[in-house]
């Protein structure tokens, strides 16, 4: 078996050597970008977990002799009006920003996935009711829904997570429902029914495990979207006022000094962009893996 595979690979390479060479170059370049994305995600995750090992200063330490300094070797991201080292604030701020991203995907993905699974598997009036509700939820754009919920609930990290999570539910519900429905109609499910398995058994053992991949891919990309929405809420002033601001709040605070200190706004935004970009690249690759037609691109 193994020998046969090798033989066919060699034949393939011979017949299309030039083609293979181009493909190889393409694949390596793509992999390099993916590797960079993974390194960025790991680094920022490390910032969130052990900030004290990475940040050169404490995020609350006010260096009175270096206020509003532009980026330099001592302060790579510059310092702000209080003389805080922006790099250190960004490193510590990653904790809340990432927490919002991951927690809201967990909550929204579980809730949306459960609604979609119930809707798709049960069918009938349950499906009709849940999906009409989903349609209605979808008419209010995500950021507005999150804004209304967070605004009404008041400023807290938990409320932002809840707001972002609720706004993401319809998307997860829809993708889960369609996947469950397509698996439900497959022959092996029919075979299981014929063998006398209970509907609950079929759902847990066969339908659900086979339906999870699209939801997981969407959740990966959802981490990026959630961080964007969450930091948007913080930027608009719905964030939590703490000693160590999250990225959105820090950026919003820096806006007042835009004419004199561009670096206060620039670096927290760069951190958001680099993280979301990396997550999206990984998500894209995961999605392509699921779709064999696209994997060659």
């Amino acid at each position: 078996m193994r020998e046969a595979a090798t033989a066919s690979t060699i034949r393939y390479k011979r017949s299309g050597r030039r083609f293979a060479a181009i493909r190889f170059k393409q694949v390596t370049a793509n992999n390099l970008f993916l590797l960079a994305a993974a390194v960025i995600i790991l680094f920022i995750a490390a910032c969130a977990v052990v900030p004290s090992f990475i940040a050169p200063y404490s995020p609350t330490e006010m260096l009175t002799d270096s206020i509003m300094q532009p980026p330099s070797a001592a302060h790579p991201f510059g310092t702000d009006y209080f003389g805080r080292d922006i790099f250190s604030v960004v490193v510590y701020g990653s904790r809340d920003s990432l927490f919002i991203g991951f927690a809201s995907v967990l909550v929204g993905g579980l809730a949306g996935g459960a609604i979609g699974a119930l809707s798709g598997y049960a069918g009938g009036w349950i499906d009709a009711v849940l999906m009409r509700f989903n349609d209605i939820l979808m008419t209010i754009p995500g950021i507005l829904l999150a804004l209304a919920i967070a605004g009404a609930l008041g400023k807290s990290l938990f409320n932002i997570v809840l707001a972002v999570a609720v706004a993401s539910i319809p998307g997860y519900a829809r993708i889960m429902r369609s996947q469950i429905m397509s698996i439900k109609g497959r022959t092996f499910i029919l075979a299981s029914q014929a063998a006398g398995a209970s509907p609950l058994h079929i759902f847990w053992k066969h339908v659900l495990p086979n339906s999870l991949s699209p939801l997981l891919v969407m959740a990966t990309i959802g981490i990026g979207t959630s961080i964007l929405t969450g930091s948007g809420l913080s930027f608009l002033g719905l964030g939590v006022l703490k000693e160590v601001p999250d990225w959105g709040t820090l950026l919003s605070q820096g806006r007042g000094y835009l004419t004199v200190a561009w670096w206060i706004c620039t670096f927290p935004g760069l951190a958001i962009t680099m993280f979301v970009l990396s997550v999206n690249m990984i998500g894209d690759r995961l999605r392509d893996q699921l779709d064999p037609k696209k994997s060659a691109r």
């Binding site: 009409r132 008419t139 209010i140 009404a152 008041g154 930027f235 561009w262 979301v276």
Partner: protein, 306 residues
């Protein structure tokens, strides 16, 4: 028949969102009087009389029927801060937001379609690389950041466009670019991927073997087929852009309904928040209705199946 069905379901969804908007704000803790008067100064009777005046002391079903009754008749209530009718306020500021949304949509569709089509035709070439970069950055940058970068570059450094305000065409360029890049990112990715799907289809081979020029194959057949998912996406994007103006209008200090809802949320001015959200939902539903109806023009299969 298809059209009537779509209009009916749109009406149902609008009715549903009316209920949803009320529900979100009703079930949430606190009522508007909390922010209007200071309990340490006002007497219990004053608070009670204000609650009665606003109707928030009534049970759920009475508040709800009153709210539905008013909204259906086009009465969105009035602002708790200055008693200005909410609908007047929305209609006064909507043109500015509409102009921004339209300009952003124009930027998105132009950049998105051109780059998306060219990148699919020249797969793996330099244009494709640029297009993928635009796509990835477009969907990954927070608008409040890209907007600020544009202000730093084009207003503070170069002085080409004003950093704030909403008077004159020059003030709309940077905000429209900021919001448009996000949409362009989504459209580039969508068009590229659906073009690539179409290019691999067998009917493309048939067209070529008939002797059609490459240009006709690509622009007449591939593009037309690839446009269908793109149009759906543009419809959804317009809703998102309308909502995205909340952030953009704050960044660029522009007038508009996005700014109104941002300010109203800070002040807990619930009737204004309800009004703007419902208004946006109605527009969103209408845009998507138009998009669905436009399918029958682009794609004859939809017309026939319905």
């Amino acid at each position: 028949m298809f059209i009537a069905q779509r209009i009916l379901s749109s009406l149902l969804v609008i009715a549903g969102s009316l209920v949803l908007v009320f529900a979100i704000l009703y079930v949430l803790p606190g009522d508007p009087t909390d922010n209007m008067i200071d309990p340490s100064v006002a007497t219990a009777e004053q608070i009670a009389s204000l609650k009665q005046q606003l109707g928030v002391d009534q049970p759920f079903y009475i508040q709800f029927t009153r709210y539905i009754n008013d909204m259906v008749r086009g009465d969105f209530g009035s602002s708790l801060l200055n008693s200005e009718p909410v609908l007047d306020k929305i209609l006064e500021h909507f043109p500015a937001t509409l102009a921004l949304t339209a300009a952003s949509a124009l930027v998105s569709v132009t950049i998105g379609l051109v780059l998306g089509v060219l990148s699919a035709i020249h797969r793996n070439g330099p244009i494709d690389f640029i297009a993928r970069l635009v796509g990835l950055f477009g969907i990954s940058m927070p608008t409040f950041w890209s907007g600020i970068l544009l202000i730093v570059l084009f207003s503070l450094q170069l002085g080409w466009f004003p950093a704030m305000g909403s008077d004159g065409w020059k003030t709309i360029v940077l905000p429209a670019l900021t919001l448009g890049i996000v949409g362009a990112g989504f459209i580039v990715r969508m068009v590229r991927s659906s073009m690539l799907d179409i290019i691999d289809e067998h009917f493309m081979l048939t067209l070529r073997s008939k002797g059609l020029s490459e240009r006709a194959v690509m622009y007449k057949h591939a593009l037309r087929n690839a446009l269908i998912p793109a149009v759906t996406m543009i419809g959804m994007l317009i809703g998102e852009m309308l909502a995205g103006t909340v952030v953009i209008e704050t960044v660029f200090s522009r007038q508009g309904i996005g700014r109104i809802i941002g300010d109203a949320l800070m002040a807990k001015d619930l009737p204004v928040v309800q009004g703007v959200i419902f208004f946006t939902a109605v527009i969103y539903v209408l845009v998507n209705l138009l998009v669905d109806l436009s399918y029958s023009v682009i794609d004859p299969r939809v017309r026939r199946s319905a």
